[in-house]
Symmetry: C3
Subunit: 397 residues, 3 copies
C-alpha cells in the first residue's frame, strides 16, 4: 500500500467528529458510529505504516499495563504487540505475585501502577456482573487521580474482554468483514448467524456472542441469534442489539435452531458459550472457592450440553448458507471435531477451508488495540499519525 | 516547569562532590549528604524532563534485571517505569522458574545475568540478617567480574527493600517532604513521629521505619520513634539514627506511646511492623519451611498485636499534632479501619484526607530509582543529563 | 576494537556464500561451514559494535517470542539480552498461563503469536524425540502462514535447546575456543575430550554433549567422547559426528575412561548427562504424569550414577592433559565438589582456576543468539550491519 493512500486515510480520519480523548474503550455500543469507524481507520493506518516500513513508535518511553484476570495467549500477544508497536513497555499486573489480595483497594492500585503509564489493558471475564464494573472502577480511579493532580496524564483503559463485551475481538472481526466484503457499507443487509455450538467444555464467557450482536446491529445487518433453549445471553444486551438493529435499518431475530440461522446466511459465527443462568450460579461458587460446587455445576452443565451435539457447524449446515459459501468466523481457538476434541463446534473440513480466514481475522487485533490506545490518548489523532508519517523513521533497518 | 529551570538544576548537580559511580545504592546512611541531595536533584530533573516532554532515554538497548524475592506491586511498577524511562528492558530473575535452587552460586548467577545489564534491582526483605548480605554479595560478584574483564561494565545494584533499609521508599518519602515544606533545608527542626500502628497482619518488615529514622536523622529533624514495648527495630539502626540526629543538629527519642509521639508533630508516619525478635525467630522457621512453627509464631504475634489496637492514627490523635494538621505519611498499602480491615493503622477519615498526599509521595519512586541507576552508571551524571536536554528527543509525539 | 576492524569483518561477511534467510537455526549440522562462520562473524560484529558504543537496534518495534518449555536462567537472559540489543520486545509464551492446553494446535498458536513477531526462541529439551520435532512443527506452520499471506513476514525460530542439539551453547563455546586459540582454523588437530562426569542429579539432557561433538567434528578436531558403559548419546548423532570428523580431516573415538580421554587433551568438557535409554523411558512417564514411576527411575538412575563417582575432573586427571593445562569448559552451572554438592563433576580447585574462562565462554551467548536472529531475517546481513555502522546511533548517551 502506498504512503499516499495512507495519508488520504489520515486526512479522512481528521474529519470525523469523535470524542474519544481521555475516554476508555469498554463497550462498542458506548461509541458512536464515527468513533467505531475512526478506530477502524487508525487500525488500518497502523497496518499500512508497518507494511510500508514506517515506525509508529509514538512513545520513546511509557508503560502499558497488562492486567489479565483470566488466561489468554492470543489477546496477551495482541496487546503486547500493539503496545510495542507504539513504543510502550508492557508491565504485567500479576495479582498472584502482588499484594493486591492484602487489602489494597482498586483505586489505590490503579493509581500506583499509572504514574508513568499510557494504557491499561484489562481482561476480567470470569465473573458475570463484575468484569465491566471492575474496569469502570479503574477508569473512575484514574479520573480522580488526574483531577487531583496525582497523575500527570490519563492512561486509556482498554477492555480486553469483560463479562459483557469483547471489543478488541468484535472490532477485529468487523474490520475483517469490512476487508472481506469491500467496505463497512457493504455489510448493510448482510445476513449474519451468531449461533451457539456444541463444545465438550463449560464456562465459556458470553462476551464474544454479545460483542458480535452488539456490533453487527450498528451496521444494518440482518442478524440471527441462535441457541438451544436455556442458553441465553445477558437479556439487556440482546434487547439493546434488537433495538440497534432496528435503528440502523437492519433486523434481529432469535431462533432455537442452528439450521434455521444458517439458511441464506452470508456469515456464520458458530461458537460455544455457557448459559446465562449457569454463569450467574458460578459467581458465588467462584468467590467462595467452592470447588465441589463448581464440579457439580460443571457436571450438570456438560450433561445438558451433550443434548445439543448436533449443534455443529458441519458441511450439511454450511450448504444451507448463501450459495453454500457463507464466511465462517471464529474468535479461536475453535473446538474442531476430530482434531481438538471428539465432537465440537465445527467439522474439520469446514474449519480447514476457512482457517486462513480466521487467521486473517485475528491478525487485525494488534492494530485494533493500538488504535484504541491512540484514540484515548490524543485529542487530534490524525495530527499524531501525520507526524509519524512525516518523521518517517523506518520500523526496521 | 521550564527547561531553563531544569538546566539550572543540572548545573547545580554538576557542582556537587559525589562518589557514586560504580557504587550500589543499598543504605542511605552509606551515602553522603551531597549524594542524597544529588539523588533528589536527578529525580527532580527526570520528572521535569518528562513534564516538558523531553525523552530521558539514555540507553538505546540494555537490560535492567529485576530480582524480587518477595511480593511487590508498586515497587515492581516503579522499577519497571524507571528502567523504561531510561531505555532499559526489564528482565525478571524469577528464581522459581530458574535453576538457582539447583546449586548455582550467587556469584555465578550475578555474572550470568549481567553481560548486557546496566542495573539490578533487588528486593530481599523476608529474612532478617540476610537481605542486605545478599545484595552485597551480588555487588561484590559484579566487582570481581568487572575486574576479571568478564563483564564489560558494572551494573548498578539498587536496593528495592532489604531487611535493613528501603531507600527507594524513604528517598521518595523525603523528596515528597522537601516538596511539601518548600525545600530540604526546611526540614531542620521539624518534628516527625515514626510510630508503630496496629494491624491485623504479621511479619511486616522493619525496613520502612528503619529507613525513615535513618534518613530523617540526616536533616536535623526532631524524631520520635514510638512503639509498644517489645516492638523493637534492629538496635544498631536505632543507635545510628540517634547518633546521626545529634550530628545533624536534630534530636532523637524513643517512646512507648503514640499520643506522646504525635504531640506537636509536623509529620506522622504510623505504620505496623513485626517485633525484631519475632523477625529473628522467623528466619530459621522460614528456612526450614516449618509451616506449623510459622503458624504458631503468627498466632502468638497476632495475639500480642491485639493488645495494641489503640495504636491507631485516628482523629483524636491527629488533633494532638501541630495545629491538628501534621502531614500524614504512609508507604502504602495502609490498613485502613473499616475499609481494608475491621481495625487497622489509620482511621478512614484521616486516610481520606491525606490520600492524595500519599499518592504524590509514592509518585516520586520511579524517578528516585531512575536517579539511583544513573548515578551508579555515570561518573559525570550532569553531562549525561545535559546531553539529554540538548538532544531534546520528544518523549511522545 | 576499532570501527575499521568491524567494517572489515562486515565486508568479509558479505563475501560468504550463505543461505540462511528465512531459515531457522535448529541444528548446527544443518548449516554449512560458511554459515557457521557467518554466525561467528555477526556475533563478533555485534560485540564490537557494543564495545564501540554503536547501537545495533535494527528494529524500532517488533516482538521476540520466548517459549521455554523447561527452566532456564542464563539462556533466558541471553535471549532477552539478544532481542533487546536488536530492538525487539520479549513476550513470553507461558503455556501454564495460556490456553494452549485447551486444544489449540501448534499451527494455530505459532501463527497467533507471530503477527508482529521477528523471532521465536524455543527451549524444549525434556522429551527425547519431541523437542526438535516441536521446533520444526512451529517452523513449518510459519512457512504455511507466510505462504498463505497470513503473516507479513517469517519470524526466525532459534533453538534454545532441544532434545538433540543446543546450538546457542555450542556456538558460544566454539566462538570462545576460536578467541582462546587465536582463530577457528587453529582448532584443526586440537584434542578435545567431551566426557561424562558424575553428578548427584539425574535427567540432564543430552543436547550439550551432542552439540559439542556435532560441532567439534566440523573443524578437523581430534575428538574423544568418554562415558561409562550405558551412558550413550543418541546413536545417530554419534555416528554423524564420527562421519563429520573424518570428512573435516579430524578424528573421533569413543572410550569408557575419563583418564583415557584426558590424556594429551587441549580441551576438556566434563559434564553429566542421563543415559539415552533412561531419557527414553522417561518420556512416557512424563507424559503420563507418573510421579511414582519417575521417582523409581530417578532412584535407579542415581544408584547407577553413584558407581561412577570417580568420573570427576580433578587435579590428577587435569595433569594428564597437554602440559597439564587443557582448557576446561562447561555450559554452567557445574556441580562443583564441596561447593554445590558433596561430590560432583569437577574439583573446586580446578573450577576456580577456570571460572573466568567459563564466564567468558557464556558471555558470547547473547551475541550468538542475536546473530542467529539477524541471519534468519536478512538476505543481506552485511548490508544491514553496514547501515547500522553508518547510522552510528550511540548505544548509550
Amino acid at each position: 500500500m502506498s504512503i499516499e493512500k495512507t495519508k488520504a486515510l489520515v486526512s479522512a480520519l481528521g474529519k470525523r467528529k469523535i470524542d474519544m480523548y481521555r475516554k476508555d474503550f469498554l463497550l462498542t455500543w458506548e461509541k458512536s458510529l464515527a468513533e467505531i469507524e475512526a478506530t477502524f481507520d487508525v487500525a488500518r493506518i497502523f497496518k499500512m505504516m508497518r507494511d510500508a516500513n514506517v515506525s509508529s513508535r509514538i512513545w520513546d518511553s511509557g508503560i502499558a499495563v497488562s492486567n489479565f484476570r483470566d488466561n489468554s495467549t492470543r489477546t496477551r500477544f495482541s496487546y503486547s504487540s500493539a503496545a510495542d508497536l507504539l513504543g510502550l513497555y508492557v508491565q504485567d499486573l500479576d495479582e498472584g505475585k502482588s499484594q493486591i489480595a492484602h487489602g489494597e483497594t482498586v483505586r489505590e492500585t490503579a493509581t500506583m501502577i499509572s504514574f508513568l503509564a499510557e494504557a491499561i489493558g484489562i481482561r476480567d471475564d470470569m465473573y458475570l456482573g463484575e468484569g465491566d464494573r471492575y474496569q469502570r472502577e479503574v477508569g473512575k480511579s484514574l479520573d480522580e487521580a488526574v483531577a487531583a493532580g496525582v497523575l500527570p496524564d490519563r492512561p486509556t483503559v482498554v477492555n480486553l474482554q469483560s463479562d459483557i463485551d469483547h471489543p478488541t475481538q468484535s472490532m477485529a472481526d468487523f474490520l475483517h468483514l469490512a476487508e472481506h466484503f469491500g467496505g463497512l457499507d457493504k455489510l448493510k443487509g448482510k445476513k449474519i448467524a451468531m449461533t451457539w455450538a456444541y463444545s465438550p467444555s463449560y464456562g465459556k464467557p458470553l462476551s464474544v456472542p454479545q460483542g458480535i450482536i452488539g456490533l453487527a446491529s450498528r451496521f444494518g445487518m440482518d442478524i440471527t441469534l441462535a441457541h438451544p433453549e436455556g442458553y441465553d445471553l445477558i437479556p439487556e444486551v440482546v434487547e439493546l442489539s434488537a433495538k440497534q438493529a432496528k435503528a440502523s435499518g437492519g433486523a434481529f431475530r432469535k431462533v432455537h435452531s442452528m439450521e434455521d440461522a444458517f439458511k441464506g446466511a452470508d456469515i456464520v459465527y458458530p461458537k460455544s458459550w455457557a448459559p446465562y443462568d449457569v454463569m450467574q450460579k458460578r459467581v458465588p461458587l467462584l468467590h467462595a472457592g467452592d470447588n465441589a460446587g463448581l464440579k457439580d455445576l460443571e457436571k450438570a452443565c456438560l450433561a445438558n450440553n451433550a443434548k445439543f451435539k448436533t449443534w455443529e457447524c458441519d458441511e450439511a449446515k454450511m450448504k444451507l448458507t448463501k450459495g453454500g459459501k457463507a464466511l465462517y468466523m471464529h474468535c479461536l481457538p475453535a473446538d474442531i471435531t476430530g482434531v481438538s476434541c471428539a465432537a465440537g463446534e465445527v467439522a474439520a473440513s469446514v474449519f480447514d477451508r476457512y482457517r486462513d480466514d480466521t487467521y486473517r481475522e485475528a491478525g487485525w487485533k494488534p492494530y485494533i488495540i493500538a488504535a484504541m490506545i491512540l484514540l484515548g490518548k490524543r485529542e487530534n489523532p490524525a495530527a499524531t499519525l501525520s507526524a509519524l508519517l512525516k518523521r518517517g523513521t523506518p520500523r526496521q533497518l
